[in-house]
């Protein structure tokens, strides 16, 4: 137990915990939109396409984070544009952008002479090295998403559920869809630094799926997903320290365990209730 508490004496660990909490909060908002609309595949496309931007940035000696952001946002807008125009099959377009981004990333990283600093941290994340500036970025972005959801909650929900009806009611559906695409892309890129490209999508889906075991009300899924995100990721972080395993993987592993355990409890409760009748 003292071991458990002693880790909080380290600044880097406290930073990591704060980062995990902040990420869980905005991921709960953005992720509920992703999971409700069943567009996890779009999230995957955005995430992997962003690797192309990272590769190009390395090659030209630019900021990889900016490269990822540009690629992610352009991919998200492109997918939404294709979805609205409907000229190409949406899933084909996503698959193409997904692999094109990854391929470009690999090629450019390969061509970059010498050492590519932090490449591993983009792939696997490094939440244990987030600094104060990173925390400000996470907090600032969380606040932005929170404000947007507070003001536009209804049009966001209605557009996600039944865009045609929303349009008949006079909601500017196209604008909200593009706005949510950009928000999704930004949320993903900002989280890559901590969780890594390979696992980042789980933080936008697993806590939401866990929350949906308890409620099927969009507005209530958000705080519950934030809660399950926080408990899962902080526990994962502590375990990663105690067991000396990679933190990103530990967080996702624990989020998944948490989901499975809760699901199991629900199933057992149902069995018992069924047995009584």
């Amino acid at each position: 137990m003292s071991d458990l508490l002693s880790v909080f004496e380290y600044q880097f660990f406290r930073n990591a915990v704060v980062a995990a909490i902040l990420i869980s909060i905005y991921a709960a908002m953005v992720g509920t939109y992703i999971v409700s609309r069943k567009i996890v595949f779009i999230g995957g496309g955005i995430t992997h396409a962003s690797f192309g931007g990272i590769g190009i940035a390395y090659y030209f000696g630019a900021n990889p984070f900016a490269g990822a952001a540009i690629f992610a946002i352009l991919t998200a807008l492109g997918i939404e544009w294709i979805a609205q125009k409907g000229k190409v099959r949406e899933d084909s377009a996503i698959a193409i952008l997904w692999s094109l981004g990854m391929a470009m990333g690999i090629i450019f990283v390969f061509m970059t002479p010498g050492y590519t600093p932090n490449l591993m941290s983009f792939l696997f994340g490094s939440i244990l090295s987030v600094g104060t500036t990173d925390l400000y970025v996470l907090a600032g972005f969380g606040l932005l998403v929170g404000i947007i959801y507070a003001i536009f909650f209804r049009p966001i929900l209605y557009t996600a559920f039944d865009p045609e009806f929303a349009q008949v009611m006079g909601v500017r559906v196209a604008i909200f869809r593009y706005m949510m695409s950009v928000l999704m892309a930004m949320a993903i890129v900002i989280s890559i630094r901590s969780i890594g490209i390979i696992l980042v999508l789980s933080i936008f889906t697993i806590p939401q799926i866990t929350a949906m075991l308890f409620t099927r009300n969009f507005a209530r899924i958000i705080p519950l997903a934030a809660l399950w995100g926080i408990t899962g990721s902080v526990t994962g972080l502590i375990l990663s320290y105690l067991l000396d395993i990679p933190s990103g993987a530990s967080i996702i592993f624990f989020l998944t365990m948490q989901l499975l355990i809760i699901k199991l409890i629900f199933v057992i409760k149902q069995k018992i209730a069924a047995g009584r009748n």
Partner: protein, 250 residues
Amino acid sequence: MNKPIVILENISTGYGTKPVLEKVNLTIQSNDFIGVLGPNGGGKTTLMKLILGLLHPFSGKVSFPSGRPPTGYLPQVSQIDKSFPITVKELVSSGLKDTNPWFPHLGISQRKRLHRMLDEAGLTKLASRPIGELSGGQLQKALLSRALINKPRLLILDEPNTHVDKLFERDLYNWLQALNKEMAILLVSHDIGTITPIVKTIACVNGNLHYHPSNQLSEEVLRVYNCPVDVIAHGPVPHRVLKSHDHKAE
């Protein structure tokens, strides 16, 4: 009292570049109750989307003599994602238009209207249920409430009688006939038998549109479910058979 609210002139429309409907003419009057019949894929939903402004005409003209009327829309149930986490209350509120569109909370007058609507539809007890837990009839009621809560002048219903039992259907039709005193109704269905007694006129949609200015269709036509109907016996004159309105054999 009776005045045209929507006029379609020589419309051709569809998806991409492929026309689904061609040479469509239709005038909707303020107290109309039009049954829209036709086979699967005939273009009924497409016609509704055109009137709603969700689709644009390739050619021809859609006009609204006294401005676009407030419109209530009940989409075909296959268009609704039942697994989406939204409650009946939220669903019905999404039909509210005028005041306070931005903020998450409903104003007092909106909430009153919501409760009155839920009450009228008999949905009060189900208000907090997610739509995934509703029966077919309950979902249709919720979708109809969403279409009605904004007090429309034009009500467009795309097969509201799918997955509902006969009892519910009769309730629904009584409700619609009462509503027709205040609004024009377009009722899409491919169940000719049950809708003909309640509608006033019939539009037959299959690539084009044939308007039938009464609700009298012969037994013959009822059997020939496939629109375009080959023969239409006009009600009062038994056995008088009209040649169908010279459309292409197709």
